[in-house]
Every structure is written in C-alpha cells, then in structure tokens.
Symmetry: C2
Subunit: 114 residues, 2 copies
C-alpha cells in the first residue's frame, strides 16, 4: 500500500505546484517536443513558435522543478527530460477525455440515458 494516502497540506502544495507546471499549453508543447530527445532553446523556439525569452522562462521553471536537465555545448544549451512520467499523467488525462467524448457522442446519438 502506498504511503501517500495521508495527504498533508504540505504534500498537497507540492502536488499542486507540479500540476501547475503542467497546466500551461506552452510548457506541455515544450515537454512534448523534448520527448523525442534533447533539444536546444532555439530548436524549441522553432517547434513551439514561442519567443526566445518565453521559452527560456518556461525552461527555467521546468528545470527548477526538476523536469529537465541541462547540458551546455558551445553557444548552445541542450535540455532533456529527466523523468518521462510526465506523459503517464497526460495519458491518464487523455484516457479520461476520450471516455468523456465517447459518452457525449453516445448522448448525441441516443445511446445514453435521457
């Protein structure tokens, strides 16, 4: 049995902090881009269409929370994911969204309870 059944206020704050980092489309795009492997800031700018300062700021936040690691090589800074469990979270949410969509289309097509 897990030890986190007891949710202390401090733990709740930590969890919320993590979720908040993922609650931003721009950061999800960045993380998703990093899924393929390490990338430079410039590459992330191009893939996400975000401004340079913006990407850098999001990366600082993600890095501060331990989502990424850094490697500097010449002028470039390569970011990579430290923990791909992020996508497990997305998978669960996607599964839920998918189920909701099915339920809704069932309602539309008459298969749901009125």
């Amino acid at each position: 049995m897990q030890a986190h059944t007891r949710l202390t206020p401090e733990l709740v704050d930590l969890i919320a902090e993590r979720f908040k980092a993922l609650a931003e489309p721009a950061r999800l795009h960045i993380l998703n881009a990093l899924r393929a492997g390490e990338k430079t800031v410039s590459e992330l700018m191009e893939e996400t269409g975000l401004g340079q300062a913006n990407v850098s700021k999001h990366l600082q936040l993600l890095h501060g929370l331990g989502f990424t690691e850094r490697r500097k090589e010449g002028l470039y800074v390569y970011y990579r994911l430290t923990d791909p469990t992020v996508f497990e979270l997305c998978d669960i949410v996607c599964g839920r969204l998918d189920r909701e969509a099915r339920t809704r289309s069932d309602l539309v097509s008459g298969r749901g309870s009125s």
Copy 2:
C-alpha cells in the same frame, strides 16, 4: 499503442485545462475529501476550512469539467466523484516527489539518511 502520441494544439489545451483544475491546493483538498464518499458543501467547508462561496465556486469548476456529480436532497447538495483516476495522477506525482526527496537526501548524506 495509444492514439494520443499525436498531440494536437486543441488536445494540449484540454489537457492543460484539466491540469489547471488540479493545480490548486484548495481543489485538491476538496477532491481528497470526496475520496471518502459524497459530501455536502457544508461538510466540505468544515473539512477544508474554506469559505462557503469559495467551496461552491471550486465545486462549480470541478463539476463543469466533469470531476463530480451532484445530488440535491432537501436543503443539502451532495457532491461525489465521477472518476477516481484523479488520484492516479496524484500517485504518480507523489512517486516522483518521493524519488526526488530520496535523491536529495542521498546527495546530502552521501547515500542513506544521516
């Protein structure tokens, strides 16, 4: 293989919306309180220490996203969870936090707890 490997901008927005709902300690407290079973707004106020209008507002948001269902009985409104997958998300985050904490204490002490 899942179909969500392709993350469209719309899907990213939906995911972010879900995460944002969970990115608030007050809402996590409410959800955690509902884990034990359906509760009235008053009970949730007492368990969380939040004001009435505040609890109500959070419940509207959670309900709007499909996290809860409602049942009215006399003066009281009972809320209950529709989908406990929420806690799978928390579990994953907690696991990560736990691993990070271990790593950090390892760094401090050289290996185990000092």
